[in-house]
Amino acid sequence: MDGIHDMGGMDGFGKVEPEPNEPPFHEPWEGRVLAMQRAMSYAGGWYIDMSRYAQERLPPPVYLTATYYQRWALAMERNVIERGLADAAELAAGHALRPGKSLKRKLTPAIVGEGMTRGSFYRQAQGPASFKAGDRVRAKNIHPPTHTRLPRYVRGHVGVIDLVHGCHAFPDTVALDQGDKPQWLYTVVFDGRELWGPDTDPTLKISVDAFEPYLEPA
């Protein structure tokens, strides 16, 4: 979706302001939010692209003014409700009012390391790759109204296949609970001037990782 989350190339947000000696969490609740996300992912409550999509659907003023972990918490509430894991009345009450659904597994202290290891996103190829390193490709001018990982700033522009990463789960369908639909994944590199115009620093190159359905020959 063409949402506020797709920030590449926007102006007006000001300087980057690093915080010296930044702690891992600024408030204890932030750690709880992160840990809940890990535990619910491990349990199979939802996939990471569903978390991203839930954040992308926050109203833009909320997205821009909420803190990072507030966005996570809001997205988690949405996933809990949309996935039928609890309802709004229970979240408002702060207690379960009904028994839970049966999830595939539960993260316990004895196996907590498993919940902190990223799973593999490699999937069985469904066919040969359409592109190889060095091929010229155009990022399609597409605007799906749902989750996608093709940022707006490259759409319609021509780049070159730099790396071929094998077949990965396809975020666009995973986010909609429509399955992995494995797709070839490539790193596509663009000249800065192709994206931002002739006045751009000629030493600049930008790459994105792009799934095959995002690309066409150029």
């Binding site: 989350h5 920030m7 590449g8 926007m10 980057v16 915080e19 891992p24 969490f25 600024h26 408030e27 709880r32 992160l34 840990a35 809940m36 535990a39 619910m40 409550g45 991203r52 909320v62 003014t65 909420a66 990072y68 507030q70 918490a73 509430e77 809990v80 894991l85 979240l91 702060g94 207690h95 379960a96 028994p99 839970g100 539960k106 316990t108 202290p109 390391g113 919940g115 902190m116 290891t117 990223r118 593999s120 996103f121 490699y122 990982r149 940022p151 700033y153 990463h165 990965h168 789960a169 975020p171 790193t187 931002w196 030493t203 600049l204 930008i206 790459s207 994105v208 990782d209 799934f211």
Partner: protein, 205 residues
């Protein structure tokens, strides 16, 4: 919880209450175990951080065979080092040279190689960095006090898949014969993201 900054502090307590409610509901439903959550928080507070990545970089500087293996397959090479948080399948390490400077961003969310660098800092997840890194990386570098030669090529890696990128910074001059342990002290978080350079030897003397 949403973002009404005129509430003078009530926003935070509202957030705390909502997060507590969420944890209680998920616990009572049987989905999560709060004791496991405690361990996750503790791990991120005490064990997983940029010191993990610094060990990887120092080894690459020290051991040419490891460096080749790291650039060939980051996940496989890092797995041999036995980190607290085991690295997944998709770590890619990109090398800075006198002619090329790499910088990593996630314009769409906050993708970051947390297995080797820990949790991303707030600035990495912020709108200023996400919006500008792909369009004006030299301006972003200036925000960090870094100035590169005008002819240095800049490559920005936008982390739009589950691949995770880490920068192998250039080894500072004057460190010949240093041990891995000593070299690791030169490696900052920011130099592994590409918004900084490794420390000079005199900075840690």
């Amino acid at each position: 919880m949403a973002a009404d900054h005129d509430h003078h502090g009530s926003e935070l307590s509202d957030t705390q209450l909502r997060v507590r409610a969420l944890e209680t509901v998920l616990t009572e439903k049987g989905y999560i175990d709060p004791a496991a959550l405690d361990l996750i928080v503790e791990t991120y507070e005490t064990k997983v951080g940029p010191h993990n990545g610094a060990r990887v970089i120092a080894r690459a500087w020290h051991d040419p065979a490891f460096k080749r293996a790291l650039l060939e397959d980051g996940s496989k090479a890092v797995r041999t080092m036995g980190h607290e948080s085991r690295v997944g399948d998709h770590l890619i390490v990109v090398e800075n040279t006198p002619h090329l400077h790499n910088m990593v961003v996630c314009t769409l969310c906050s993708c970051y190689p947390w297995e080797v660098l820990g949790l991303p800092p707030v600035w990495y997840k912020s709108a200023p960095y996400r919006s500008r890194a792909v369009k004006d990386p030299r301006g972003v570098l200036a925000d960090f006090g870094v100035k590169l030669p005008n002819e240095t090529q800049i490559r920005v890696w936008d982390s739009t898949s589950e691949n995770r990128y880490m920068v192998l910074p250039m080894r500072p001059a004057g460190t010949e014969g240093w041990s891995e342990e000593r070299l690791a002290k030169l490696v900052t978080r920011d130099c592994m993201i590409g918004t900084g350079l490794a420390r000079e030897p005199q900075e840690i003397a």
